[in-house]
Symmetry: D2
Subunit: 193 residues, 4 copies
């Protein structure tokens, strides 16, 4: 089954982990789609868009299918984005997923960021179930586009089966009378016949 | 390759088409993922959420991969949501995708809506490349979740290949100096070495 | 006290009222600031911005101070925006304030709209406590700007007194410990001393 | 002219100013309405709501009428919200208004915050043209409500005159033909007669 070639995702080089007792490796996440969200705590688009988006991804998908990892890739203002500042940030913003502090590399760009050739923050990286690097997007990423990329990777290398359900017959949800609310307009009992 | 059984999507029963010169059939869309957006022009959640979402889906995906179709499934206020009113609505809201007016069925629920057992509006229906009904969601649907479902159906039955790209080496985008804007924080020239 | 001259607001010319048992006149609203929201039910910016904004104004201010009135000023698609269509629209969108259907004038522009020289929909008109026309804004209007205009008119011709409160000493709201949530970061008990 | 009594706003106690060459005092701002936005750089509601709101207030009103001042009132995580961190934050978030760092008081709550009896961050404080404390709101504050409070204070103690304009006759804006866009639906030339 000749698939196109995709390179293996480089190993994560992490100086310190937050929100996890044991260090994570991509090897240990094999079998899952990994969403790696590279950010800086003083990057406005990260704070207002990408980190909330990562939190939403974590809630939407089963942990056995999708792993969300934050990567603190500081390449500016190093003095004021150290581990203590990040810990306070993570607590106040209630980020729940594991976050690795990208390891120093000698220059201003940390090691993992350099290895992945990221162009800045936010960068959203997708790694497939086989550990291959499949997407690296710099900048704000649309929700539908991110969802589609995750969905595609979820579907690959899957034992045949339904991940998309038909939730058609939830007849229990039908209520008497017609009513529109923020969710939509429901059919009433009398009408559904 | 034993996939789970999924029923074929019932044919569309359309009284009149807007935004297309030739009537559409699911058969003619075989090979594409179909997003069928059932709405009423007087349904607030359709107007503020689902129709803009459908327009965005249409922009994000190539027409050869994903077809977006609106379905006007009037089950209340029939007198004021006739074809002329819909035409004005479609023009003012600048909806660009083909829209079918669901055919009358004798009762207040139109024919396609009844056949698909939809519970109300908005309902978002996904049909796979083989014409099978794969999802039917009533109510507001999250962008990431919709994207994931579309992405999964896109990945099925595909000739092996990359739909997810690595846009890593867009070195041209790198600019001199560090700057954060609404898009994010870029690496500067001096730093990327 | 020589104020600048402002013209009296022309009388409303209304063919039919919704959401009120008795017809409204500007004379009967003297003493209140009137927010007159001119809209068409098929005008997207009206539906997504101005009508929700008018509903919010109605909730924020006391009815004795600010009156919110909708004005259905149809100047296009007359056939499909008649009273029955408007009634369905008002019900589905749950608009709670009185709405007048602008009276026909012989041309396509209805009478009140023509008299007020409105340029289109949405138009937001402010009338002061003395019945004078003080603002007429065509197009989407910023919330802060609208609030400021209402606040200014509220302050005029007022018996001296405080409308702006100092809600400083709500000590009851203070909770033990420091916590940040969507509302903000509170002082804890131990810290407030 | 017996107005209700309002206390004078306590003096600002500032350890260091950003975005201004000369230290500000409330006395020097007499004659203007002052919007004092108390925040912490690690307070999510400040970052996503109140600071953008303060920036918008600064843009909407003339500087001679309304002064916007930020106040960094750190009462937690002192170690990681020092002046250097704040400077980086202010630069990355492109805050343009003067920001004072609230002076230490011996306890964890800084001096101005304590004097004003603020309950946490964000707190939005309004001071009238005469230097009197008129509002102190803890938590997210609605745009219309903030606008109304500012508008009211602007109207007080004003020489009689129009701040609210009638922008009715912008005939130049009228274009041929009817068209709806994000701004609204305009009257066409032919119709306005």
């Amino acid at each position: 089954m000749a698939r196109n070639f995709h390179p293996d995702a480089p190993p994560l080089q992490i100086a310190q982990w937050l929100n996890t007792d044991t260090p994570l490796t991509l090897a240990s996440l094999r079998g899952r789609v990994v969403v790696l969200e590279a950010f800086q705590m003083l990057c406005p688009a990260c704070v207002t868009h990408s980190l909330p988006q990562a939190s939403k991804v974590r809630q939407l998908f089963a942990a056995k299918d999708v792993a969300v990892i934050g990567l603190h890739t500081v390449f500016e203002h190093h003095d004021v984005m150290g581990p203590m500042a990040l810990e306070a940030f993570v607590r106040e913003y209630r980020l729940g997923f594991p976050i690795g502090i990208d390891a120093p590399s000698g220059g201003s760009i940390p090691a993992t960021m350099r290895e992945y050739q990221m162009q800045g923050t936010p960068s959203t990286v997708l790694i497939d179930r086989q550990g291959r690097l499949r997407m690296s997007h710099f900048g704000v990423l649309d929700d539908i586009a991110l969802g589609a990329a995750i969905g595609q990777l979820l579907a690959e290398d899957m034992p045949a089966g339904p991940a998309v359900q038909v939730s058609n017959e939830a007849a229990a949800a039908r209520e008497a009378g017609i009513a529109c609310d923020a969710l939509g307009c429901r059919l009433g009992e009398g009408l559904s016949a």
